[in-house]
């Protein structure tokens, strides 16, 4: 059996004296879409940010392609092939759409191939080509989300981490974003989604983890998990 791309093993995370994550363990296989779902404050984003390197675990291991990455900063995890699409998009306000995209290709490997990657991005998100010279923050919320995903893809990552990509978007735009996630899967990318949108997330994922109050309380193939089980784990009732 091939080694998972990402292994999160017994991870604890503290904010000062307060523990936010207890003993979290999850695996992500190559080419899979794995979803972490849970209510607001369940610890999903904290766990995702610890994988990206912006939050340091206080215990356990985060292993990416066999390498322990607990102590790495985000600028060190990106060249390894991990790219985070952050919550709230965080588009650079003083950069145009094209400049935002090119920033995604800052790492040397991506920089060398940025033209080829950019052409692929424009095929995936044609609207961004039309908006090339607009300032990034003048786009609509959905277009900004596309830009944030495209910017992460510019680094040609192996593992994409999505933090609350549907938050604050209109239903039609959410549908369109999830269509692009399926298209990205066809490119052979591995993805880890953090979502509050239960239905959409489970429909897309190959495997799901449900978090509640900092702990992973349920996991499995979405098709095998019953609605009652998920709701109980999600809401804790």
């Amino acid at each position: 059996m091939p080694q998972p791309v990402l292994q999160v093993c017994n991870v604890d995370i503290h904010y000062g004296d307060m523990q936010a994550i207890w003993d979290a363990t999850l695996n992500v296989e190559a080419g899979q879409i794995v979803s972490i779902i849970g209510a607001n404050g369940a610890g999903k984003s904290t766990l995702l940010q610890s994988i990206a390197g912006s939050i340091k675990p206080s215990g356990g291991d985060i292993i990416y392609n066999g390498e322990r990455i607990n102590a790495l900063m985000p600028y060190q995890t990106l060249p390894l092939g991990i790219s985070l699409v952050p919550e709230g998009r965080r588009i650079f306000p003083r950069l145009t759409v094209l400049e935002n995209l090119l920033i995604g290709a800052y790492a040397p490997k991506a920089r060398a191939n940025h033209q080829r990657i950019l052409e692929g991005i424009y095929r995936l998100f044609p609207i961004l080509k039309e908006r090339t010279h607009q300032m990034g923050t003048t786009l609509s919320g959905g277009e900004q989300q596309m830009l944030a995903i495209a910017r992460s893809l510019m680094s040609d990552p192996n593992l994409l981490l999505f933090d609350e990509i549907s938050l604050g978007l209109a239903p039609t735009m959410i549908k369109s974003i999830y269509e692009s996630i399926k298209a990205i899967k066809q490119l052979g990318k591995t993805m880890l989604l953090v979502e509050q949108d239960l239905q959409r997330s489970l429909k897309t994922a190959d495997y799901a983890y449900v978090m509640q109050k900092g702990r992973i309380v349920l996991q499995g193939n979405p098709a095998d998990l019953s609605e009652a089980e998920i709701k109980k784990a999600y809401f804790g009732i």
Partner: protein, 291 residues
């Protein structure tokens, strides 16, 4: 009436020099969000580095830039990486105090090494002028200063717009954590930005040295000019820096022409106060944050 053209031309040319004086301060203000109180002293330090280089190697001040540019880049990189980065994020005061301390150290070190005597960087261009009419001429040293000033700002503008490193610096100044998610080591980027700002300080130091006289305590005088340029033009904006330099230069010399030489500095700062009152973020700055 023709007499007014002379101070106007001189004001425009002086404005180009002021743009070089202000651009480094503006960059660091806009990117690292830090007021580098030592910027004036670092410009004067580079004037002394060029003075020493010219003396030792027997070269002219313009050629001595070959030595001053990398030395000042290294110094700026080191100061940011090993001193200022350690106090960033701890509020406004710690970097301000560190820069102030650096300013005092630089002034006194220069005083110890070079004595308090006024110095200048000698060049044959200092006494040359191009006659436009019988009463109006262009002082060549001011013209060279203008070309260097405008050239520096233009190259920086191109650098920030067209290179991966330039865009990374702008991104890091917009959102440090998001920039890290893009693979940018923001601490190193800030050090590189300071290194580049110090290269502009080297150019400004050369222009100050070849156009005026300098001594170990001249730094704060040019820091105030740099502040004027940044306040008028808007922090972090290259176009703004150029506009700020030109407006300050023209205001000073036209003020001196119409009101008398005693009013030269006052005229510049009256304009500055007007800009502050009407547009506090500067002519090309963005409201609410450094541009």
């Amino acid at each position: 009436m023709q007499d007014v053209f002379q101070p106007l031309i001189n004001g425009i040319l002086l404005g180009g020099i002021y743009a070089a004086v202000g651009v480094g301060l503006s960059m660091i203000f806009g990117i690292v969000r830090m007021v580098n109180l030592a910027h004036g002293d670092l410009m004067i330090l580079s004037s002394y580095i060029m003075l020493a280089t010219c003396g030792i190697l027997g070269i002219n001040p313009y050629t001595s830039l070959i030595v001053a540019l990398p030395v000042m880049f290294g110094l700026g990189y080191g100061i940011q990486k090993y001193i200022l980065n350690r106090v960033l994020g701890a509020g406004m005061e710690p970097p301000l105090i560190v820069a102030f301390g650096l300013s005092i150290i630089l002034q006194n070190t220069l005083l110890l090494i070079f004595s308090p005597d006024a110095r200048s960087l000698q060049t044959s261009l200092s006494i040359k002028s191009i006659d436009l009419t019988q009463t109006v001429s262009i002082p060549v040293i001011y013209l060279v200063g203008f070309v260097f000033g405008v050239g520096t700002v233009s190259i920086l503008q191109l650098f920030f717009r067209s290179t991966f490193l330039g865009r990374a610096i702008r991104a890091a100044s917009d959102d440090e954590m998001a920039a890290q998610y893009m693979g940018i080591n923001t601490q190193t980027i800030f050090a590189v930005a300071m290194g580049i700002a110090m290269m502009t300080a080297a150019i400004a130091g050369m222009l100050i040295g070849t156009t005026f006289t300098f001594f170990p305590h001249t730094g704060p005088q040019y820091l105030i000019i740099a502040f004027g340029v940044v306040i008028i033009g808007g922090a972090g904006s290259m176009i703004g820096t150029l506009a700020g330099g030109l407006i300050l230069g023209i205001a000073q010399l036209m003020g001196a022409y119409f009101l008398g030489s005693g009013y030269q500095l006052l005229a510049g700062y009256v304009i500055l106060i007007i800009v502050l009152a009407i547009r506090p973020q500067g002519l090309f700055g963005k409201a609410g944050r450094a541009a």
